[in-house]
Symmetry: C2
């Protein structure tokens, strides 16, 4: 049976592109592997896959009796059902180390860079396997997406170098034009329900025993969301009511380089604890904050610790 390669729930472009690329690399290393996803792909990913000639990975959510490679996550809450009934043989990631454990030794490639795609590019080089042209294209888009076209504080020189090299392989002459095209697809909000928007890029965390959800919408201009805010606020209140302590939704303006955060919480004081500034009503402007992973989740984790 082929090894399955899987990213986190609510797949984004990095999770999808990484699953496809790692499955290719493992297969070429002599261990047959196939990419899967834990859910339907988002519009941005659909645009990227179509552009480079891939179809969406099959949706599979149960790990029982499977050999598994985790990409782009190491948190149980973001992973497959019954993970302990499968066997994790490898992990490729760029996040904090989560609570996944294994009974057996495994292979792990984890770097503190902006995107799993950057790690995977280095792995192809390490194993002496050529990156296929179309895989270079999707990895390139994954890095542009995760680093918000190099503007995120998570972006490193390694990410920029990987994009340079992948663009040459993929034959992409204007990387930034491709990035803008992709972000316009990602930003498209009209026609989407509030529920779809909240879960477009959403993660649940366990913070000192509290279930906390953080979603993020990145737009090229925040005013695009003006007519949606009321509906989004109502939606996160509903999500919070379903067993969570708090749900936060980051509305990130990638041009202004900051985020408005909508708040639904049992205890709003965690926001001031996390950011040193009290919210006005149910939202707060966070200047310079673009990264959930590096600028938002760690602050809340500390705030919940005390």
């Amino acid at each position: 049976m082929a090894i399955v390669v899987v990213g986190h729930k609510n797949p984004d472009t990095d999770t999808i592109a990484s699953a496809i690329a790692v499955a290719d690399l493992w297969t070429k290393r002599g261990m047959e592997a196939k990419p899967i996803a834990q859910g339907e792909i988002a519009p941005e990913s659909a645009f990227v896959l179509e552009k480079f000639g891939f179809s969406a990975p099959e949706v599979v959510t149960d790990a029982t009796d499977k050999q598994i490679i985790l990409v782009d996550h190491t948190d149980l809450s973001q992973s497959m059902d019954n993970l302990e009934k499968g066997e994790i043989v490898a992990v490729v990631d760029h996040h904090k180390l989560g609570d996944v454990t294994t009974p057996n030794p495994l292979e792990m490639w984890v770097w503190p860079v902006g995107c799993t795609g950057t790690v995977i590019k280095a792995m192809y080089d390490f194993y002496g396997v050529e990156v296929p042209k179309n895989i270079a294209g999707i990895l390139l888009c994954a890095i542009l997406s995760d680093t918000v076209m190099f503007k995120s504080v998570t972006c490193t020189d390694a990410d920029k170098k990987a994009v340079d090299e992948l663009a040459k392989i993929a034959g992409v002459a204007d990387v930034m034009a491709l990035g803008m095209e992709m972000f316009k697809v990602k930003s498209a909000v009209d026609g989407a329900s509030a529920n779809e928007l909240v879960f477009r890029d959403y993660k649940d965390f366990d913070m000192s025993g509290n279930k906390v959800g953080i979603g993020q919408l990145e737009v090229v201009d925040l005013s695009m969301l003006d007519s949606h805010k009321e509906g989004l606020q109502a939606e996160i209140e509903k999500v919070k009511a379903d067993g969570r302590h708090s749900v936060f939704l980051l509305l990130t303006d990638i041009m202004k380089e900051g985020s408005e955060m909508l708040i639904a919480s049992d205890d709003v004081s965690v926001v001031e604890k996390a950011f040193g500034k009290a919210p006005e009503g149910k939202s707060i402007w966070l200047e310079g904050v673009m990264s959930r992973k590096k600028q938002v989740a760690p602050n809340f984790i500390k705030a919940f610790e005390g």
Copy 2:
């Protein structure tokens, strides 16, 4: 403040050599680092360090306010005190993934090979840093030690290749002669107390909520231990009485390629569950079993799960 590089409690040669080598590599990558240890080094490690001109790393056990690189472990029970009050910036290991988590992204190099030293050799190559001659010597010894001179089931082709390359750098002409010399030092039991022998290479595990200790003594001939067995049995009973469900001591004959396991347990049936064979009295012969990590700990973890 320099980053500290630390291996597991009850340091063995892999943990000590890996801490020294990773500190060297990180420093040469421009991030000053120094090796430390969680306890006094064992006779085998003292022999290896002296042979290649190193002194034992300083003993430090508290992680508070330190930047830390973990080598050769990812289990909280095997790591420093107050680990959550320090910041883990990297992990280099070859074991199962344990319960250490981090609030921030980090660098991880974990491979399913016989020794952390093998991973570190690849890291030097990856970063284009030359392995110093004396560090090649201690990494080589670490691999010979962890793989029981290539006889352990944990040994892979990558370990053998690393030894070949490290031997050339270190100028070691007869690798197996060096290995035998090292194992004779390791096997020396006369003059050591039962307590010293039990803890020479000992680890505590959390198995489904039960604290379980597993120690291992490797000797070139099991009969060397005949006069010690009674004292060792009494000693593991004492260690078990200190809040543990079970303590097992593997007496591994590296020439016969098998282990006699001494047993102190609240429920001896876990041994039969783990190995499909009932012990005779308080010990059992396990043919072909030489690796705690791959042939013993996983079996007990499963046995304790039900």
